[in-house]
Symmetry: C2
């Protein structure tokens, strides 16, 4: 059923003579399908098509683009169980999880479609002319967000649907009016091919310009870098490791005549602050909720809680003891691919070798069957504050307890934290008052701050921020989940003294899209 | 009256032993006042103060910050005529122009104050909880924009008030809740000192945290770079040359552990497209308007029209002839400083030496008295398209006519354009229809597109975009003029399941600020 082709616009293309295959941790073998690595010429053609498609795609109406996104969602459903079977084989993820992730991916497409229909996301701002102003008249000045141009997307292995070929980056770029070229993730090339076929059919059905979507097969260093450095590319979305993200980011700035924005979501240890009032009340329940979050999906989430900060006291002792019990009762489970599994044990090992790190729990299982086992480490406040190596992400079901002597070392530990996607505070009302400074400092470091809840499970909604200060991402001013993600691939364009009939609908006097606009400083849906 | 100190927080400081002096093109001499170059320790102290001030300044109410900005405006007025006299001496700009610019600077402060009071700029988005959703409940998720942290501002010499110490970068950063450290522009150190004294008094009067504003004296390579590379700095605003802007941008990405955003406004040649219908109707008026724009302020504007694209025909001939006549009737005038004047003639000379460039008009005046004379060059469509050197900015009263054979070479010339702050189209309705493709491509290249009007004179308003694709700026997703500039120095922060009493006012159920918010996908000022 799979073909192993690249998708260069609507064309299936396999002109190269190199191939990739996918290793299945589920079947513990290399899968038979060969995928053709894109040639330099195929990549060049994908960019050329995207550039041509841009001028036609960007002027489609919001309604056209909304229908397009909804049609993609339908076509994903039409892929039926084949999609789930291949994704299970390639990712080792269980059926239930993949069905849920498919639902999320479809929901995401529909939410962006709804956002396009509502229309106000273009942030229309209008200052009307004042012809009789002295000493000089004021012009008519109007602005709105417009798309950047062809976007390259590098997906993640841990969400083969929701953060890959048809994930948030692709959907937000398409919603904003940008053609997309996906560098297919090497860990799930079959899943990529099926997802790409859904978008291909939607392009055909909705008569979207050819070249609005392409995907190419190959590795990051060669195939990926050819795209990153191509002058036709105007922005990049990436989810993955710190090293790969930084290589792309630096190439986009240093190895191009025209630097372009890179939205790389990289590494985060998602600190949890366990404040004493809350912990005192119910250490067992808190331990249960956190154990669940650490081991959910074999810890293979970018929001996995990798560090737990708490003040040393009796309740902390009870909490830690219970957490160890729960983690040791969690059976090892299949990881996504050999690299993820190897990296998990390697980065875990690296933390254990740091000064003062104590292993509280570690299973005797090893990585022979590509399974990840839960683990718990402990370090002192002083060691954590003085050693940035303890802030390295361990991608898997492990966490580090930082035992703080008192309120002031807890604050110092929080101050020493690098940028994060999330921080969580377990607290009662008294804690929130007593530790206000600590929570305030914590909020400077993160894209999302949670209260008495766990960071895993990122809601796709309008208010979500899945982003945060470096090294969590390369651009804290954006999110990769939720409808605000559309802002990454657009820029403001201002029209001065443009005749009504040539203005985009969003800026016309009669407000034909009935959107919320800022007119002379006041928000309104009124006509002018 | 001047002291020559650095302003390290509220403290006057001059602990170094190096000094700068300002050369006055008006008086053709080095001015006597010595300004103390900041030491490494003074710069370090300025950053330390800014970091400490941040946590206190960012939680001030919008009303506090609005009053602060208005108080700065009053204090500028209180500087009286001294400010104008020193600025004239240091910049060579005439009194009327400086009075106008002071008005613009004050108006800018008041517009940002009004934006803070209106309050909706924080872009509050709220998705309320759905506790009974299955399979899992939805959390309460709310987001708003929050400040980044200490911002460094590098001002421009051509607007000693509106784009310097108290210019748009400083005002938008302060409005957003960020402390600011200004690297004082070496060409107007006295003006900087007076402007800084106005903000110092406002900080005192409004009890703003010490360290919210500092300024340091020194050059870009040493003083500037120490700031750019300091881990305490979270963003940079810059207006100036391409080379200096790129040096800062690359250092901010490559020479820091944590890369930070750089908003550098650099170089732009602001193409004017003269379409045949319009030109046919009234070549003389169009020539008059354009000649004015080329020579306004001795061409020392970042929006100065540096290239005029038109199709060769009779009307074009009449237009060019008249433009030459008007430019040659414009007397040479004093430029800002020796560097600007030298660079003007040097970069002009460089263009004249390119293949096929014809000098249509050039005065016999030379640069001996630091005066800039108007000039007009001409190149063919083919030469312009094939030689990027013809797109180098010439900062001064000169422009290049690109004579195109026909519609298709005009389109090709537009396609070859690099990113620009502005593009202008002189057209009638028929032109707009006939050249729709050309105008569409042009809009991809610019931050602002104007119709039958000139790009010089940038309105400070809500809808203004003074920005654009590279090399006009390093970040096309922003503007340095108008209230949208506040978005450069903020980032989204998401609160999940945060108790009401601990939410910022902008996100509280009862909407105490009465701002426009997006609640469950719908824009409203309603309470929840």
């Amino acid at each position: 059923m799979l073909k192993g082709f690249n998708g260069i616009g609507q064309k299936e293309s396999a002109s190269g003579n190199q191939y990739l295959q996918v290793f299945s941790t589920l079947e513990q073998k290399l899968l038979p399908q060969k995928f053709s690595v894109a040639t330099v010429a195929e990549i060049e053609e994908a960019v050329r098509l995207a550039e041509t498609a841009f001028d036609a795609y960007k002027i489609l109406t919001a309604e056209n683009r909304a229908v397009f996104l909804e049609t993609i969602a339908e076509e994903i459903i039409n892929l039926g169980n084949d999609l789930i079977i291949i994704a299970m084989q390639e990712s080792g993820l269980p059926e239930g999880r993949l069905l849920g992730e498919r639902g999320r991916t479809i929901g995401q497409l529909k939410l962006f479609a709804a956002t396009l229909r509502e229309g106000s996301w273009v942030n229309a701002v209008i200052d009307t002319a004042i012809p009789d102003r002295s000493p000089i008249p004021r012009s008519d000045i109007r602005m709105m967000q417009v798309p950047l141009g062809p976007v390259v997307v590098f997906g993640a292995s841990n969400f083969p649907f929701a953060f890959s070929t048809l994930g948030g980056d692709t959907v937000s770029a398409l919603a904003g009016g940008n053609p997309v070229i996906v560098k297919a993730h090497e860990a799930h090339l079959g899943t990529n091919e099926l997802m790409a076929s859904a978008i291909k059919r939607a392009i055909e059905k909705c008569r979207i310009p050819d070249g609005t979507f392409s995907f190419v097969i190959g590795d990051g260093q060669v195939t990926g870098m050819q795209l990153v450095k191509h002058p036709g590319i105007k922005a990049i979305g990436f989810t993955g490791s710190f090293n790969a993200g930084m290589a792309i980011y630096k190439a986009a700035v240093n190895d191009r005549t025209e630097p372009i924005p890179v939205f790389a979501e990289m590494s985060s240890i998602n600190p949890i602050l366990l404040l004493p009032g809350k912990l005192q009340q119910d250490p067992l329940t808190v331990a249960g909720v956190i154990a669940n979050s650490i081991t959910l999906g074999v810890g293979q989430f970018c929001t996995n809680p990798g560090v737990l900060l708490l003040i040393d006291n009796d309740a902390a002792g009870v909490f830690i003891e219970h957490l160890i019990k729960l983690l040791s009762a969690t059976p090892p489970a299949l990881m996504l691919n050999p690299q993820v599994c190897t990296n998990y044990y390697k980065s875990f090992e690296n933390i254990t070798q740091q000064n003062g790190v104590k292993i509280l729990y570690k299973s005797n299982n090893d990585a022979s069957e590509y399974k990840g086992s839960a683990a718990l480490l402990q370090a002192s406040d002083v060691d954590f504050i003085n050693n940035p190596a303890l802030q390295q992400e361990v991608f898997g079901p492990s966490s580090l307890i930082v035992l703080c002597k008192n309120e002031s070392t807890l604050l110092a530990a929080v101050q020493s934290l690098q940028g994060q996607l999330t921080a969580t505070v377990f607290c009662d009302v008294t804690d929130m008052e007593n530790y206000a400074a600590c929570i305030n400092v914590m909020s400077n470091k993160v894209g999302r701050i949670l209260f008495n809840n766990v960071p895993t499970g990122v809601e796709v909604c309008h208010a979500m921020v899945h982003g945060g200060p470096f090294p969590a991402t390369t651009d804290a001013r954006s999110t990769s989940v939720g409808t605000l993600a559309i802002n990454r691939f657009v820029r403001p364009l201002c029209f001065q003294d443009c005749p009504q009939e040539f203005l985009p609908d969003a800026l016309k006097n009669e407000n034909p899209l009935n959107i919320m606009r800022k007119i002379n400083g006041r928000y309104t849906t009124e006509i002018i």
